[in-house]
Subunit: 751 residues, 2 copies
């Protein structure tokens, strides 16, 4: 039996206590569109007497069980996410495939209006289904999901994003939405799905629905859940792009814990093997219309490619323009989200209406635009059949006469994956016309999947450069996709690996690196990355990893806001109930005062959730005396385990008699005695580094001079948000670090 040394430190280790000292309602300015409170997650170990006792008492067998379960759960996440990804693709390829085949057949019979009707109503029906399911069953499943997962890894737990309802709706919704020809990416939903699966597995199933699994009870703490969700998100990227290494890097650009690397890698390895095995099955033709195109892998460049130093200038220009387009895309998307939020607040009917409008618009556009393209004669040396009939391919016939193809229809009248494959394909330099490429670029740019838009941008660029370059147009499409992705997501290493894994040619590496570097740098001059913008629009308090210079001028005492709620080591029940009812804080310092100690002294910090558990079990004594040893018998560690998101008991649900209110609780054994502390004179910058690097939720501030109270405040995530700090110290706004950003002229108010 092998035990990995770095997994040994967290059996039954629940989360570092945290309190939202300043309740979230006072930070509405970060959450303009969110009326619900977000919870926070940390990454640290809670140490109180009770857990220590529990840790000491559990035998080696439990430790082994815990470590075994850690790996088994990663394995299960890999298997389940792999299966879901495969089924998603199977469903999309078959639903969308049947739609396109039926429509194409009618086109062949030249019954164009009937074809349009079939196309139009099937799209509308699928869209309606997706939006109704999302709006009525699980609103948290709306949107891409990546910003929410990124925020979770940063430490912010948006309500309901990992429930079983969200998972099911996400799967069904994304399949129908993608099939309905809405140009929507698959990666976002897969990341969210992966994170959901991991979170539910970590909870040991859904308690609400009676699906729990005893063995997984050790995972009921923030850190293990966060670890598992990290693996799940990596699995999501790994499955949607078949890019296992890229998936690991994607999550680790956000949240790094070296002990986790190893398990995340294992998870995505499982995904890779599951997908490989399932695709092997499909190669024998048992999967309906699901062909080789089902799961993205654009293995179009396995042949040697050569490029020289003269190819670098156009590639630099490609990256530069890609960066500008990417930042433009980001700022436009932010505006669209703002408008969507306004509609969203009007109610469900408006949501459905807008979805239907978009679907109708899309159907008309997709069906109408190819008519603009002129039919072109099939090339004589085409490798594949031309025109392509009854299956996906480079040469769609659409309305054209025999022996001709419609190049725009080949792109538009296809699933996303097939469109990308067409754009990336080599030896097809003469396939497309300028006009078709521009139309497709603009059309796809109206919707979400940046990779499609990027590919068409790159291909168009390649056509412009034409004979002046050694690179073929398909290669330019790959580089264009990289440029636009780099310009919107601003990730470097993970994006680079994902694109390499997609295209399966490492000789491209230097060019892709250059493009990504140039496009990210260019785009950074205009605005920040798309996920940050969406998180800001959604009001998720994302903590940046860098320190603003004015934070070095401030001490922690400058940002602590009060009043501070304290508890005594042995506290009256009535006081606890009163404080819990009147504040929204999640953690409270515990103080020992005379006669328990000579002078007032900080004992530790206690969590709201644990206090509620104590009140529920009525672990009261009639006199203020130490009762530590008895308390353990009343509780098991499961009582203090972390509940699923938002499933905790509420103080309002607890009813106590007058008599009980006059009794006492000995908080000592349930208090985390090792909270992280900073002296009030520490600079805010250094406190932020501690807070962010160690993954805290609460940071106690202690006084420099000892003649005062032993604790002067609590810092939480919100105290580190620049908006909060600058509202307390408005004169610092001028000394705020300004990125030297070009200000775009405000676009005309079309939307």
């Amino acid at each position: 039996m092998i035990i990995n040394g770095n997994t040994n430190a967290s059996l039954n280790a629940a989360e570092d206590p945290e309190s939202i000292t300043a309740p979230l309602i006072s930070h509405q300015r970060y959450a303009p569109n969110s009326t619900s409170q977000v919870a926070l997650v940390g990454a640290n170990i809670l140490e109180n007497e009770f857990f220590k006792q529990d840790w000491r008492s559990c035998g080696k067998a439990h430790v082994l069980q815990y470590i075994f379960m850690k790996w088994v759960s990663c394995f299960l996440v890999g298997i389940v996410v792999g299966l879901i990804a495969f089924c998603n693709n199977l469903a999309v390829e078959n639903i969308a495939g049947v739609k396109f085949v039926v429509t194409s057949n009618m086109m062949l019979q030249r019954r164009f209006w009937l074809a349009f009707a079939v196309f139009f109503f099937s799209n509308l029906g699928l869209t309606l289904f997706a939006v109704v399911v999302t709006a009525f069953v699980a609103p948290a499943a709306a949107g891409s999901g990546i910003p929410e997962v990124k925020a979770y890894l940063n430490g912010v737990d948006a309500p309901g994003i990992y429930s079983i309802k969200t998972l099911l709706v996400k799967i069904v919704g994304s399949v129908t939405a993608v099939s309905s020809s809405l140009l929507i990416g698959k990666a976002g939903p897969m990341v969210h799905t992966g994170a959901c699966v991991a979170s539910l597995l970590g909870q040991g199933g859904s308690k609400k629905h009676g699906l729990t699994w005893k063995w997984l009870r050790y995972f009921k703490n923030d850190r293990d859940r966060r670890d598992l969700v990290t693996c799940g998100a990596a699995a999501g990227i790994g499955a949607s792009f078949r890019s296992p290494v890229g998936g690991v890097l994607f999550v680790f650009e956000e949240w790094w814990r070296s002990a986790l690397l190893w398990r995340a890698f294992f998870t995505t390895a499982v995904i890779a093997i599951v997908l490989r095995a399932l695709i092997d099955v499909c190669y024998s033709g048992k999967c309906g219309l699901f062909g080789t195109g089902g799961l993205i892998m654009f293995d179009v460049y396995s042949a040697n490619i050569s490029y020289h130093i003269t190819d670098v200038p156009p590639v630099l220009l490609l990256g530069f323009v890609g960066g500008i387009l990417g930042s433009l895309y980001n700022s436009l998307l932010t505006k669209v989200i703002r408008i969507y939020n306004i509609i969203h607040e009007r109610g469900v009917v408006y949501k459905i209406l807008i979805a239907c409008t978009v679907s109708i618009f899309t159907s008309c556009l997709l069906f109408g635009l190819p008519w603009l393209a002129t039919c072109r004669p099939c090339p004589r040396d085409a490798v594949e059949a031309c025109p392509t009939i009854g299956r996906s391919g480079n040469y769609k016939k659409f309305q054209c006469p025999a022996g001709h193809y419609n190049d725009l229809a080949s792109l538009i009248f296809n699933t996303n994956d097939d469109a990308i494959r067409n754009l990336f394909s080599k030896n097809t330099d003469s396939e497309f016309q300028y006009s078709s490429m521009i139309i497709f670029f603009v059309t796809s740019g109206l919707f979400v999947p940046v990779i499609v838009t990027g590919a068409s941008y790159g291909r168009f660029f390649g056509m412009l450069v034409g004979k002046h370059s050694n690179l073929n147009h398909g290669l330019y499409a790959v580089l264009g996709a990289a440029a636009l992705l780099g310009g919107t997501m601003r990730m470097t290493v993970s994006l680079c690996v994902i694109i390499l894994e997609l295209t399966n040619n490492l000789l491209l590496l230097p060019l892709i690196m250059v493009v990504l570097l140039v496009s990210k740098t260019t785009a950074d001059a205009f605005n920040s990355n798309i996920y940050d913008l969406i998180m800001k629009a959604k009001g998720l308090p994302y903590l940046e990893s860098h320190v603003e210079p004015y934070m070095r001028q401030l001490t922690v005492a400058d940002v602590v806001t009060g009043p501070l709620q304290l508890f005594q080591g042995i506290e009256k029940v009535g006081n606890i109930v009163h404080v819990l009812r009147t504040t929204g804080h999640n953690g409270f310092p515990v103080i020992d005062e005379p006669p328990l100690s000579e002078t007032p002294v900080l004992f530790g910090i206690v969590l709201r959730a644990h206090l509620i558990e104590l009140l529920k079990k009525k672990a009261f004594v009639s006199n203020p005396v130490l009762t530590s040893t008895d308390s353990f018998k009343l509780f098991s560690s499961v009582d203090f385990a972390k509940r699923g998101s938002g499933k905790g008991d509420k103080i309002e649900d607890i009813e106590l008699t007058e008599e009980e209110m006059e009794m006492f609780i000995d908080l000592h054994p349930f208090t985390n005695t090792s909270p992280y502390t900073v002296v009030e004179t520490m600079s805010l910058a250094k406190a932020l580094i501690l807070f962010r690097e160690v993954g805290l939720r609460h940071l106690l501030v202690i006084p420099k001079l000892s003649n005062r109270t032993p604790v002067v405040g609590i810092l939480t995530r919100h105290d580190f948000m620049p908006e909060h700090i600058l509202s307390l110290h408005p004169m610092l706004v001028s000394s705020r670090w300004k990125r030297l950003r070009f200000q775009l002229p405000s676009p005309p108010k079309l939307i």
Copy 2:
């Protein structure tokens, strides 16, 4: 002008102060073979009034200059390391190439003894040169260099490893040693070279040799230097394997700072482009014997490969056996290093003698062994000429008659890169005999480059599996190399990416992942990774990232040792000199006592280096009064800049008069007022997390009760070493986490 937000926080930010409170001499048990002290590096920001003032006074132009220089220095590191890597390869290919060509020509004339003499004496000469240069000029250049760089990134600065002498000797020594047919890897020396280049650039040249560069003065602090060295090490891996992404991941598995990812990626991108451009030049045949084989890239699998679920069991077995072999290799290497250390202590003559012995032994082995192999007739369908004459190739003639080749000579009588290429090549399943493969496996296993041994192991395994598998033998060689590398280095993600980048086929990914997972898991059951073992043998105090369970039972007060040396805010010169002369500490808490404050209060921490600077400049006052504002005029920030490794002034060099000794220094403006602190009751586990995650060198321990001194101790790296803790608390040894490791029976005492 674009400024990246995350680079804005460290202008003139020198290092967090650290003190080796317990002097290193008392930790000799970690450093059994090292008589010299190691310095420590941190990753944090120093905040004292002086630096704050300096920061406030420097204009926007300086900030821009700083950021600009950060990127320029990464660019320069990329260019320089790329050039060095290319020249290294060019030199090796030409020196070793000429040697092999001359020897082969004599073999063709059947003058075997003369051929042997040429081979023997050229090897001996080259080896002698390498060992003499290393031993007399720069002993720090001996060995692979990766453990030292890894230790540096972990926070330990071994003396002299980054000097200009070390760099030159490393380059010359590795070229000659590799050319002398000693089977030595190129990756280790390249990593060390990259780190050296980066460190020297960060210092702005070598001060000792008068090569300094004013613009780089902002980099004279630990954090910026460490960042640059990280990029340099990544560049080293990137250059030696032409694996830019793998290089970035390699260093980031050790030391993660998300702001750095972006610059490390840029550095390796520069490397990739430089190498590409230089190789383009060589394709036209201007580089002598340097052919396509010069820089490793085994692009041997660009064709499609197919494998099925039935291929998985043999691959699992391959990984399992590879893990066992890898751990065996680690334990043997540790023994060899121990013996080498004993010889090393005997003096330079013994070092030279052992090197010559190894060279003679190697020459005899390499020349003698191929005679054991039977000559085989050339295959009729061979793609390349058989036998290969006058160049590298799969079919070496050696002593064989016309139309025959010697398969063992094809492996042994070649450079490492060519041997690997032969092993990895496809469509050569019948090229090798079992006996040759075993002989080569054992021979290469005697020396360093694990990748060669692994490839021959895999090839042999593939020959055994034979027809029962769809995979060809070359593919097995790749997987075998992965298995053995995984079994020794125990890295996962970076190794995976490096192997993919080497072989340029991403379809291999699932198999490589499986092999790495199995071999690492298996090998972890026996011992720890090779770098940890070497660092332990070299006495470098490497701080593990995981927390041992017994650390949760201890508080920081349990491990603080002492006597603690304090300074007053205004301290007598004589006292400072006395303390600096009698202790080896690097940081001292500064206390304000009445009348400066009401009660004794912790003001901050001051560094030894800064105290020495103050003494040197004689910033003294005759009365104990506050003088803060005047002090700034005496100093510029350059005075407090970090010196090159070990180049700082010593207290012994400072001479003061009796009168001066009676004067005072106001330490306030030079004291870091925001040191990280922990309460003495905090568990050691949580203190370690803080120490490691934030990258500290000192952690102040403050008392829980305020009626005592305001600081009770300082924690440094050494206080967190398990050996130190267990020596203080021997009863915890039994509760130490035991990896369930198989104990190998002690090997017979051959060595």
